[in-house]
């Protein structure tokens, strides 16, 4: 999304930039010693390490999720196979021949052919 500035205005600071030249730069009153620096660097390394570990762990958690999904796929595939086998057994010729529908069928006494 973009915005269009409709009102023009000038910053006073921008307009008087020259006045701030040669001003005094005040040094900070807080001084960091070598121990503090070391501690800060150690902290930074620790934080970076934690970030790395978090990411690495997250990758592993995806692996577990993928493994779980694979397992579910495998189970569903097995169920599908079982159903296919059941279906094949139920539609086998012997089953069809022994069905009530087949038993009630009769041989036609006469056959007529419809010519095209």
């Amino acid at each position: 999304m973009s915005y269009t500035r409709t009102v023009q205005f000038n910053s006073r600071r921008q307009g008087n930039w020259g006045r701030n030249q040669n001003t005094v730069a005040f040094a900070s009153a807080v001084k960091l010693g070598p121990i503090t620096h070391t501690v800060l660097i150690a902290l930074m390394i620790t934080v970076l390490g934690l970030i790395y570990l978090t990411q690495a762990t997250r990758t592993s958690s995806y692996d577990y999720a993928a493994s779980e999904v694979d397992s579910q796929i495998s189970q569903l595939s097995d169920q599908k196979k079982d159903l296919e086998v059941d279906n094949a057994r139920l539609t086998a010729l012997k089953e069809v021949q022994n069905s009530n529908v087949a038993k009630n069928m009769t041989t036609p006494t006469e056959t007529n052919y419809a010519n095209e």
Binding site: A56, T59, S60, Y62, D63, Y64, S67, D78, Q79, K81, D82, E84, V85, A88, R89, T91, A92, L93, K94, Y113, N115
Partner: protein, 582 residues
């Protein structure tokens, strides 16, 4: 001047000690990480990396149900339930649960195996279904484990078992199509090499993971039509009851493609009950691996060669004296008094007269002798064109080649070739004879017999295309004449049992068998054969059927083999929805 040694401060000593310690660490790390790098990487890999074989699924086998494929051989995962007797806590609970869930699949008195405390693995039940296994797992029985096993399932029972073969415990195809197509059915196992956690769950970390997916086996569609196969097996079972023969066989082919619609032998076996098979001979498919002297059905090949060479016509005549001399031998007809005098070649075929066929063989030479040239011509037709006496290449394991003696062989003399003209002196399998007969009646094109109609690609049936053999067996005109002669012969001697209005043809064969002890023909055992075709359009046979009956006595082609042909033929007319002509 007294030299003063500078006394190092304790801090400096500590620093030096630390530096020395660090130096030791650095040297040690350098040794481990650089010099022994490969060794430790291998050590780490052996603990963290695991190899898994991704097993390819064996292809399923389909048959045809009309034009649609239907599953004939499938795969099913079943479980072997085992126990570790040392960790079983509640013996009675285990016995009760297994009896309740898998009562029919348990070992006899399986409870006794739970008492063998000096062992760690005892099988309690086999071939337990997945549902049963899940119920047992829910029971949470300590010390009870499950091994998944994939097995072949045959929804149609023993149907076409001798065509299919079976898969052994190592997963290799044995006999039949399973063995012949083993490589394509097996597929190719894949490989997963990956870092795993302690539970062997594969992780994606690391850069050495290898994942080669398994390639599942092909799922071919057989040209065997389950309905035709079932009818053929029923007809054979009826024939066993009717004749009392030891073995009966039949093959049904589509002459315009060479595809086998049915192929069966009786007795047979149930591939799901292999352990109950007493005689391994039942695994053999006699239609492809039992070469024999096919007898007078071979006369159809002799007349086909004679017609194609132009040395005879159906109304060509010769003088039948009941016997004929070939070199120093006298060749007799089965009946020396039948149709004596001047008769036609059609008569000779109708009455199955050996003298007529020997006469054709002579006419392929100089007219009075079966010369070397005549023998070469017969050999060319029988062996080189009709591909008799050699393996057809059908996709079934254990096919036999049979024997046809070349005229260049010392035994390939005139007497041999006179015998061959009426079906003796050469050993052929039924599939060879049926395929050659297809060429004789289909217009003269030889199609290699096949049991493969195509392949399943997912749920799509991709049909294979039939291509005729490069060489034409006989001309279309000769084929039409042969067809008409065989049609005539079908009705000549036996009372017709065919549906009226259809164009049926065929030839009987009754062949003597050779006593393996003496090498002489025996009189107490003959093989009955019938080889014929059928359809409604005289120029387009829709099926070829060959049947044989043998073992335990004398059987006649007309009396014992032809009724099987008629039974299957009359049924096929309805099944193929053929309309009568005229």
């Amino acid at each position: 001047m007294k030299q003063r040694f500078r006394v190092k401060s304790r801090t400096e000593l500590l620093a030096m000690a630390i530096i020395a310690l660090m130096a030791i660490f650095v040297v040690r790390l350098f040794y481990i990480q650089v010099i022994r790098h490969d060794y430790y990487v291998a050590q780490a890999d052996s603990e963290q990396m695991k190899k898994f074989t991704l097993h390819a699924k064996r292809g399923e086998i389909y048959a045809l149900d009309g034009d649609s494929p239907t599953k004939l051989v499938m795969n099913e995962t079943v479980y072997t339930v085992w126990a570790d007797p040392q960790t079983i806590q509640d013996r009675q609970a285990v016995v009760d649960a297994i009896n309740r869930v898998a009562g029919g699949d348990t070992r006899a008195n399986f409870g006794q195996y739970l008492d063998k405390k000096d062992t760690r693995y005892q099988v309690l039940a086999t071939k337990v279904s997945r549902k049963q296994a899940e119920l047992l797992k829910k029971a949470n029985l300590a010390g009870v484990g499950f091994d998944a096993v994939t097995q072949r399932v045959y929804p149609e029972g023993s149907l076409a078992s001798q065509v299919l073969g079976f898969v052994d415990a190592e997963g290799s195809g044995k006999y039949g199509f399973e063995q012949a197509y083993d490589g394509r059915l097996k597929g190719r196992d894949g490989l997963l090499k990956t870092v795993t956690d302690v539970r062997s769950v594969p992780l994606t970390v690391g850069d050495k993971n290898i994942n080669i997916p398994a390639v599942d086996g092909q799922s071919p569609v057989l040209s065997i039509d389950r309905n035709v196969q079932a009818k053929t097996e029923k007809a054979l079972a009826d024939a066993v009851t009717r004749t009392g023969a030891k073995r009966v066989s039949a093959i049904v082919m589509d002459p315009s493609t060479g595809q086998v619609m049915a192929m069966a032998n009786m007795p047979t076996y149930d591939p799901s009950k292999l352990s109950e098979v007493q005689d391994v001979a039942l695994f053999n498919n006699a239609t492809i691996n039992h070469p024999y002297e096919i007898g007078s059905v071979a006369k159809t090949f002799t007349i086909a060669a004679g017609l194609d060479k132009g040395v005879m016509k159906p109304d060509s005549t010769y003088v039948n004296e009941g016997s004929i001399r070939v070199d120093d031998r006298i060749i007799n007809n089965a009946s020396k008094t039948t149709k004596l005098g001047t008769i036609t070649m059609q008569d000779a075929l109708d009455w199955s007269l050996n003298t007529g066929m020997v006469t054709i063989a002579q006419r392929l030479g100089n007219g009075s002798e079966i010369t070397y040239g005549a023998r070469q011509t017969i050999y060319q037709y029988f062996h080189d064109r009709m591909l008799l006496g050699q393996k057809t290449g059908i996709e079934l394991a254990g096919e036999s080649g049979g024997i046809i003696i070349s005229p260049d062989d010392a035994q390939g003399n005139a007497v041999r070739y006179s015998n061959m003209s009426f079906g003796q002196g050469m050993d052929l399998t039924m599939v060879q004879a049926a395929a050659a007969f297809c060429a004789v009646v289909n217009g003269g094109a030889y199609y290699t017999p096949t049991v493969v109609a195509g392949n399943m690609n997912g749920t799509t049936f991709q049909k294979a295309t039939a291509t005729p053999h490069a060489q034409r067996v006989i001309s279309a005109e000769a084929s039409a004449q042969a067809r008409e002669m065989i049609h005539h012969a079908h009705y000549a001697t036996y009372k017709p049992a065919d549906r009226p209005g259809y164009y049926i043809g065929g030839k009987t064969g009754t062949s003597q068998t050779i006593d393996p002890k003496t090498g002489e023909y025996r009189n107490d055992e003959t093989i009955a054969t019938y080889l014929g075709f059928g359809g409604s359009d005289p120029s387009l046979p829709r099926y070829v059927i060959m049947t044989s009956v043998y073992g335990n006595g004398n059987y006649g082609g007309g009396a014992d083999a032809k009724p099987i042909f008629n039974d299957i033929s009359n049924w096929l007319i309805d099944y193929l929805k053929l309309q009568p002509k005229g």
